[in-house]
């Protein structure tokens, strides 16, 4: 399609009853509360405007949008005038034309007229509006005072701020306040002297509070705020709507292209997950897709101490297939397995698990959700009957009390966090359960009613104490429980939580949460209206991760906060397609749609379709595969799009497992850390180079559309298909839509999903079937998927990872807005401007005890290993607790994390490791050895030399 800018209706959508009026002789019906400007735009009459845009509330400052209304005096601004029934509006009259020209003339007289060389030429509202009002001459001359020589702020790596071009419409300020909720911009001064400023007078964009979400850039009608890429490449000439491949929010974007070159990613206004907003990653951090480190030829080597040899696809795939066959012949069918990726599409993930089950003939398939949300799957399936969150994102706008547990939405789920902040500014109350003072505890115009700064590892004790308050103070919703849940189970649970030893006072010594604060928080959640719980990896990545998820579900059921908008249990999913990867049967015990592999009927369904017989025994999880490898029983693995060496706990053990295998096949964009141990490397393709679907945290399935040709020549699903063919499987998909047809045929919750429907509807939230043909934004409305909601007794079992004299501090880990997971992508973008290295947050008291100052190199040691990094002294963390991110391989935070894991799912206990911190003067031996190994392992002998 050619390039069309997204329509701008001038002012936000209204929701009232229909009102009919007449605009330029045309009858128009719009919801009450709409402005005249919006009504006109909906009827395709675009009234000239400058200070209005539909992402923010109207402001009424530019006076360009004047109209005449029969029976009214003067010329009201259409952007601030609400529609009324039977109004008769005129948008084009000689009087209006004259007035508008006058307004425009004033604007233009203080604006550089370098349109021909301006980056926004052809994509500038000021230029368009000057044309629209018929401005042909400017009477004022340019000699008077103006702003034309003010200097540009080029500090942000992705966009420039050129104040000379600013018309002070304040769209940027309002976008930052209302859409993003960061309040980084202000208009300083007044009248002619007014100007836009980022933060205080001394700040530039980079040093200000700005989080580089791009909302202001999108809102700016001129080229004052302009993407650097547009200046570099030129304005786009076509666009394709696709889905962000970073996090589980699942923002949709228009990839705006010039030929095969991506100019910019602009959030798509019709996207139901993001509603036109974005964060720095999806909006700007896509440079990795063209990064020079990308590997585009397949490579092989016999031993990992040899350099890589580039080979043809043919050779690489036939070699991979023969290795797998050789190993299976020697060590047995179950000595092989695969790992699917939450970064890849549903279709690709489905194929990898199909390859393992139907091709390798076992169920040794697992996925990176093992290390993040596997407890969500287990916990929510056990209690509610389905392994997914209960709500859509829109639901937060109906919440009255928001309870955030172990999640940091402003960093990890920023676009959803902006929606949440909007609701909080409207008055919803906030409770935060987190060891750290995350940004939301106090940020502009937001303050948590209660922050429960618990000691890491005591989630279950805190949640059970909240349940104790709810039950013993008579705050449970008995009518809901009797109708919707198993009453006997509830009574057992109620008796359990009511035990005085589970009261807030009794557990305070171990949780460190003041009992009275906990009581107040529990009362607020139970009685404050619609209560919605949002949680993240601070819940799941514990030895009691699954218990915590069930404890959360118990709270929601006990208070009747399930089954309608504004409530629910919402896991904030990490990766773009972690929900999808789980749905697609990536776990070793489940076929797609969460059906156990031992279920004969389900197996028969797949066996019939695939023409093979399937192993009825569960396969190995990632940690089991690594253990078996060390034992010599697991020898070959196909890893698509996951870097287990960096992301999984206890790096030494992962390295030992990989080193013990005879055939490690890594299918990825880059030579990642795991590839240091690989024998076959298959180059992957980025989300910009493929077709398929992702499923976000609200179960929303959205299309990923190819915008450019894959650098390696193939989309990832094609590579898996070629490997399957090399193994003798008769696969002949020609497009991912056929894979989705197969998924829909075999998976009841996807029965109504096709690419054509997704294209027509924009997105669908599963289950999509006969009962819910348009999908299911909110689940468990009339009853739980499993029938009756199940209360599960969750006893607090302290972790075995204990502090002591040698390791007196607790380390917890997390991530930061500008970086993404192991950083393979974001480290290859300009986002490093915000986070060039991982730092260790440590409380001033603990730092002083150790003689450490901010910025010092420190040694971080645990029972598993040690690493070094620099300290950040802050009271964000409580005394006794230290915190770091794991975005940089040089830090190798997972050298330190332990091997303890969730009792039900083996999700690693990343959030609690006993450590000691001391002064250091350089990298550890492991860091140095590893650096040398990496360097050795990444050598490539090019094709000519090698063959």
């Amino acid at each position: 399609m050619g390039y069309e800018p997204q329509a701008d209706f001038g002012t936000p959508e209204a929701k009232g009853a229909p009102v009919t009026l007449t605009i330029d002789g045309q009858s128009v019906t719009v919801p009450a509360g709409s402005t005249v400007m919006r009504a006109a735009a909906e009827a395709n009459t675009f009234i000239p405007k400058l200070c209005a845009t539909d992402s923010v509330k109207q402001f009424g400052s530019c006076r360009l949008c004047l109209v005449e209304i029969d029976g009214r005096r003067g010329t009201p601004a259409s952007c601030t005038t609400p529609v009324e029934a039977d109004m008769v509006v005129h948008t084009q009259t000689p009087r209006l034309q004259k007035l508008r020209k006058g307004v425009m003339e004033l604007y233009i007289s203080d604006h550089p007229l370098d349109c021909l060389t301006c980056a926004a030429n052809g994509d500038c509202e000021l230029q368009d509006q000057a044309g629209a009002v018929g401005l042909r001459e400017v009477r004022y001359g340019y000699e008077g005072a103006n702003h034309l020589d003010v200097s540009k702020d080029v500090s942000n790596p992705y966009f420039d701020f050129d104040p000379a071009k600013c018309i002070v419409c304040s769209r940027c300020v309002r976008a930052c306040d209302e859409v993003q909720g960061t309040f980084a911009l202000t208009i300083e001064g007044s009248g002619f002297g007014s100007k836009v400023s980022a933060g205080t007078g001394l700040d530039d964009f980079l040093s200000s509070e700005c989080v580089s979400c791009g909302a202001c850039v999108q809102a700016c009608p001129t080229s004052t705020l302009q993407e650097k890429k547009v200046a570099e490449i030129g304005t786009p000439d076509r666009s394709v709507v696709t889905t962000c491949a970073y996090c589980g929010v699942g923002c949709t974007f228009r990839a705006e292209m010039r030929g095969e070159q991506l100019v910019r990613m602009v959030p798509w206004k019709d996207g139901k997950a993001n509603r036109g907003h974005s964060c720095v990653k999806g909006r700007f951090a896509w440079g990795y897709a063209q990064h020079q480190d990308r590997i585009t030829s397949p490579m092989i080597r016999e031993r990992i101490d040899q350099p890589w040899r580039e080979v043809s696809w043919e050779k690489a795939l036939s070699h991979a297939a023969s290795e797998i066959k050789r190993i299976q012949a020697k060590y047995g069918t179950r000595s092989t397995g695969g790992i699917t990726s939450s970064r890849c599409t549903n279709e690709e993930t489905f194929l990898v698990q199909k390859l393992v089950r139907a091709g390798f003939g076992n169920n040794n398939v697992d996925t990176c959700a093992r290390v993040c949300h596997s407890p969500t799957g287990y916990g929510l399936k056990t209690t509610f009957g389905t392994s997914a969150g209960t709500q859509d994102f829109d639901s937060v706008m109906d919440a009255d009390v928001i309870l955030i547990i172990g999640a940091n939405p402003t960093d990890a789920h920023p676009v959803f966090a902006s929606r949440m902040k909007r609701r909080l500014r409207e008055g919803a109350k906030l409770i935060i359960v987190d060891p750290r003072g995350i940004d939301l505890v106090r940020s502009p115009h937001i303050e948590a009613a209660h922050h429960l700064p618990l000691r890491p590892g005591t989630n279950v004790a805190v949640l059970t104490a909240m349940a104790h308050v709810i039950v013993t103070e008579g705050l449970a919703d008995e009518a809901f429980i009797r109708e919707r849940c198993d009453w006997d189970e509830y009574q057992d649970w109620a008796a359990f939580v009511s035990d005085p030893k589970r009261s807030p006072e009794a557990v305070e010594p171990l949780t460190k949460v003041p009992a009275e604060v906990l009581r107040e928080a529990a009362r607020l959640y139970a009685t404050g209206g619609n209560g919605a719980i949002y949680y993240g990896l601070g819940v799941t990545e514990h030895s009691q991760g699954s218990s915590t998820v069930m404890a959360i579900a118990n709270l929601a059921m006990a208070t009747g906060n399930i089954g309608r908008p504004g409530v629910g249990v919402n896991p904030l999913r990490g990766q773009n397609n972690v929900q999808g990867a789980c749905d697609m049967g990536s776990f070793p015990h489940e076929l797609p749609g969460y059906r156990h592999i031992s279920d004969t009927e389900t197996r028969a369904l797949f066996e019939g379709d695939w023409g093979v017989s399937l192993d009825s025994e569960p396969g190995m999880r990632i940690p089991n595969m690594l253990d078996a490898a060390v034992d010599g029983a697991f020898k070959a693995i196909y890893i698509q799009g996951e870097d287990i060496l960096q992301s999984d706990p206890n790096t030494h053990h992962v390295a030992a497992g990989l080193a013990a295998m005879e055939c490690v096949i890594v299918h990825d964009l880059f030579l990642n850390e795991t590839a240091n141990y690989a024998h076959i490397f298959l180059p992957g393709s980025t989300f910009l180079e493929k077709n398929g679907t992702f499923t976000n945290a609200e179960r929303r399935i959205q299309l990923v559309r190819k915008v450019m040709t894959p650098m390696n020549g193939m989309e990832d699903w094609e590579v898996t298909q070629r490997l399957a063919q090399a193994l003798g499987l008769d696969w002949n998909y020609t497009h991912p839509s056929q894979i989705m047809d197969e998924i829909a045929r075999l998976t009841p919750s996807f029965a109504g999903v096709t690419f054509d429907r997704l294209d027509a509807e924009g997105s669908l939230q599963w289950p999509v079937n006969d009962k819910a043909p348009m999908g299911s934004p909110v689940m468990h409305i009339d009853g739980f998927v499993r029938g009756k909601g199940k209360f599960v007794v969750t006893d607090y079992v302290p972790t075995d990872e204990k502090t002591g004299p040698r390791y007196p501090l607790l380390l917890t880990t997390g991530r930061i807005l500008s970086q993404y997971n192991v950083g393979a992508q974001t480290r290859r973008t300009e986002n490093t401007a915000w986070h060039p290295e991982d730092r260790l947050e440590i409380h001033p008291v603990d730092a002083e005890d150790r003689g450490l100052r901010d910025g010092d190199w420190v040694r971080l040691a645990s029972r598993s290993g040690e690493t070094t990094l620099r300290a950040l002294v802050t009271d964000r963390v409580a005394p006794g607790v230290v915190y770091t991110t794991f975005h940089h391989p040089a830090t190798q935070a997972n050298v330190v994390t332990s091997e303890y894991s969730d009792w039900a799912t083996n999700c690693p206990e990343y959030k609690v490791t006993a450590v000691q911190v001391s002064a250091s003067n350089g990298p550890t031996d492991w860091q140095e050895d590893y650096e040398a190994l990496s360097e050795r392992s990444r050598r490539i002998a090019h094709q000519e030399a090698a063959e």
């Binding site: 031992s598 089991n624 079992v797």
Partner: protein, 80 residues
């Protein structure tokens, strides 16, 4: 921990978390959980460990595993 020690640790951890649902049901719940989530090699290893006269499994873990072994032998694993 070597693989065998890890399996013992895991079985004990499962039993400890499941136990509060009532001793009678606990053995069944432990057996059910392990049947659902452990691969055949892990099950064989822990059965061999029991046969060798283990003393490091908690009573409820041991009861659960023994129950599972009987079910497996009679082909009526509770998985599914």
């Amino acid at each position: 921990m070597n693989s065998e020690e890890k399996l013992v640790y895991m079985a004990n951890q499962i039993a400890r978390n499941i136990a509060p649902s009532g001793a009678g049901e606990a053995a069944e719940a432990v057996a059910d959980h392990i049947a659902h989530f452990w691969d055949p090699r892990m099950k064989q290893m822990i059965f061999a460990h029991i046969n060798a006269g283990s003393t490091d499994l908690s009573p409820s873990a041991l009861a659960g595993l023994k129950l599972l072994r009987t079910q497996d032998a009679s082909g009526q694993s509770s998985a599914g």
